[in-house]
């Protein structure tokens, strides 16, 4: 009997403890990680490399930043990724980074001050890394621009306060005059509303410390050497420095007029746009470079996956100082300028929208353009042939390199004739064999 009681107690303990395990927070371990600010072709991707990943990836001949830190690491089963608790512990590890190639130390890196400078604002895709004094100077420039903006903003609020008072006085004066029987146009000057100041159109991150890495293509190893000369355990990582396979071309993002939220990419010069029926397409050109999918995905985050056999195009910089041309052979059919467009939801039970040119009326009603693009209309009047779309630098007759893409308007209705075409070798064979038989018979 006692044995049964003990067994039941043990089972109960097991069940309860199992339930407890399910509710537990993930186990955290204090470990060395490398925080990464890696140049991704256009901007900088921020991530960290947990101990589970043994290789770091960087683009050749461009500066990226790594830093060795001690933090809490835990595995998050939902995303199947390691997470870092930088808020709980974020300790910079002292020392120098050694870069090795073929077992030989080829560089020793010291921590440097750096800033990320976004010349087109924080939300733009383009950033430049500056180090040391230039980093301090860029950040100071940003700070003084922000201070100047704040001063202008204070002035604007004061001007707005004065404007409201003047406007109220204007309305009061108008009311008095109308009540006194005055009609028609009055000679009272209407106060003008002040315009708000434009926000700073660039951004510089607060200077930080890190090891700036800039290497040519190759395979390397890195490790952290402590100030006492020892190698920090777990700091050894492989480093793969790669370059783009193809660069200098133009890629396009296409917004199809009939499904503007589901965009298409026509990045590779060999890709052809096949169209059927009437289509309105909005083209957005980009400078681009082609990288190995695995390397680039791992550069963005070492825990990402990718396929070494695949390549991916990375949009580096939007192109907006060109005009686009739709042509058939040598004949230019349309020259298209970049223009703003507004997506207007169609009210009523039928869900839908309409893309219309953004105009002054929309501006006065306070609407912002939904997107800016180059609109190309493939009407049903165009004969089903091959067309070419390309980008030309403003004021130039030269096509941007690798900017041509083919558009083929298909004759879908002829698809059923494909099977009869397949019979032609049989017909040929009958003719050949019968003619031989005839010759032999003679």
């Amino acid at each position: 009997m006692r044995i049964y009681v003990i067994a039941i107690c043990l089972i109960a303990i097991c069940i309860l403890s199992a339930g407890g395990v399910g509710a537990q927070a993930p186990a955290r371990r204090e470990q060395l990680v490398y925080s990464l600010t890696a140049f991704d072709g256009a901007s900088f991707s921020k991530s960290f490399c947990p101990p589970s990943e043994d290789t770091l990836y960087f683009i050749a001949d461009n500066s990226s930043v790594i830093d060795a830190r001690k933090t809490f690491i835990y595995f998050w089963p939902i995303t199947r990724r390691y997470m870092a608790g930088f808020r709980s512990l974020d300790e910079k590890l002292p020392g120098t980074i050694e870069i090795l190639k073929g077992g030989e130390v080829i560089q020793t890196l010291q921590r440097q001050t750096y800033t990320l400078f976004y010349p087109e604002g924080y939300w733009s895709d383009k950033a430049t890394l500056y180090s040391d004094q230039e980093a301090e100077r860029r950040f100071a420039e940003y700070q003084s621009a922000v201070e100047a903006f704040n001063r202008k903003l204070r002035d604007y609020y004061e001007e707005m306060r004065i404007y409201r008072e003047e406007f109220n006085r204007f309305l009061e004066e108008m009311r008095i005059r109308r009540e006194s029987g005055e009609e028609g146009i009055t000679n009272i000057e209407m106060p003008q509303e002040p315009s708000p100041p434009d926000f700073v159109d660039f951004y510089a991150s607060e200077p930080a410390q890190g090891f700036i890495l800039n290497l040519p293509v190759g395979n390397y190893q890195i490790r952290l050497r402590c100030p006492d000369g020892r190698i920090y355990e777990g700091s050894e990582k492989n480093v793969v420095v790669f370059e783009s396979r193809r660069t200098g071309g133009v890629g396009y993002e296409i917004i199809p007029g009939n499904r503007w939220t589901r965009r298409e990419s026509v990045d590779d010069p060999s890709w052809i746009i096949h169209g059927a029926g009437h289509n309105v397409l909005y083209f957005n050109p980009y400078h681009q470079a082609e990288y190995n999918e695995l390397y680039h995905n791992k550069l963005e985050d070492p825990q990402n996956s990718g396929r070494i056999e695949r390549w991916k195009w990375v949009h580096i910089d939007p192109i907006d100082d060109v005009h686009m041309v739709l042509s058939r052979g040598e004949e230019i059919l349309q020259q298209i300028e970049r223009a703003p467009y507004f997506v207007k939801q169609i009210p009523g039970p039928e869900l839908g929208y309409e893309i219309i040119p953004y105009d002054d009326e929309l501006l006065q009603r306070g609407y912002q353009p939904t997107f800016e693009s180059y609109q190309i209309e493939l009407s049903t009047n165009l004969p089903p042939e091959e067309y070419t779309v390309s980008a030309l630098q403003d004021g130039s007759a030269e096509h941007l390199p690798e900017s041509e893409r083919s558009i083929r308007l298909l004759r879908k209705e002829n698809a059923n004739y494909l099977y009869p075409i397949a019979f032609f070798p049989l017909v040929f064979g009958i003719v050949v064999i019968l003619s031989r038989w005839t010759r032999i018979d003679r």
């Binding site: 298409e264 052809i272 698809a415 059923n416 099977y419 397949a422």
Partner: protein, 273 residues
């Protein structure tokens, strides 16, 4: 030397005329084009009315399939004819005369290559008609792919001749050829399908399978003749003359190596079944 050339010419003419005036060649072309039409019909049906579809050279994939069907037919034909001639004793009779293993295999190779070039000319006509009918592009890329097809057929034929020179009987020759070429093709298609899937979309066993297939594919990458066409088509898509030229060079080297190996193998094995 001229006598040797005359022997090759005679053997070549005999086999070439026999195949060119037989139904099999035209039926195989018809089958290859029916498969291509099926693929292209599905491609066209995949584009909705008033919509677009972005794709690289849509005619290249049907061409790839057509070249595979044609080259397998040619290699089976040669394989079977070698084994049959061995079984019937024709080979022994021929070898008592001025025919050697080299003459015999080189004539078979050129016969298959010429038939392959004729088949590719049929492909060019077929894809041109498809282009006229549907406006799918008969591009310079497709012409380059057709040129690459000649070298792929050369690789498959040489590989097939090598396998046929090793096997004795017709049945075993057919089975071994089908098994090896089918295995290469299956591995290539499975590999392409698996690497097309995102890692997150794969279950753990499928992930292991993908890794295994990847390793196997890397292993056969320079042995499988079909991998040469795959790389050649990649060079066409990349529009890289250097890669294109390199692939042609590799294909020629591959063909020469396997042709020499088949001659050595046949010389060692002898002409008796």
């Amino acid at each position: 030397m001229s006598n040797r050339g005359g022997v090759v010419k005679t053997l070549f003419k005999r086999d070439f005329v026999y195949t060119f005036y037989s139904w099999g060649f035209y039926v195989v072309l018809f089958a290859a084009f029916m498969i291509s039409s099926f693929i292209l019909k599905n491609f066209l049906d995949g584009i909705r009315e008033e919509d677009i579809l972005v794709s690289a050279y849509p005619l290249n994939y049907p061409l790839f399939i057509s070249v595979i069907v044609i080259s397998i037919y040619l290699v089976m034909l040669s394989g079977v004819s070698i084994s049959r001639e061995r079984e019937h004793g024709t080979l022994e009779v021929l070898f008592y005369g001025p025919v050697t293993a080299g003459n015999f295999l080189i004539s078979k190779y050129f016969k298959d290559l010429c038939l392959g070039i004729i088949a590719l000319a049929f492909c060019a006509v077929y894809f041109y008609l498809v282009s006229l009918t549907t406006n799918l592009g008969f591009t310079a890329g497709l012409v380059r792919a057709l040129v690459m097809g000649v070298f792929m057929i050369s690789c498959v034929v040489c590989f097939g001749l090598f396998i046929s020179s090793l096997t004795g009987r017709t049945r075993s020759s057919v089975l071994v050829l089908l098994a090896i070429l089918g295995g290469f093709l299956a591995l290539q298609f499975v590999h392409a399908a698996l690497i097309g899937m995102e890692r997150e979309a794969l279950s753990t066993p499928m992930l292991y399978l993908r890794e295994t297939v990847s390793h196997l594919f890397r292993g056969i990458n320079w042995v499988s003749p079909f991998a040469f066409l795959n790389r050649g088509l990649d060079a066409v898509v990349l529009d890289s003359p250097l890669l294109f030229g390199l692939n042609i060079f590799y294909a020629v080297v591959y063909s020469v190596i396997f042709l020499i190996l088949s001659i050595i193998s046949m010389s060692l094995k002898g002409v008796k079944a």
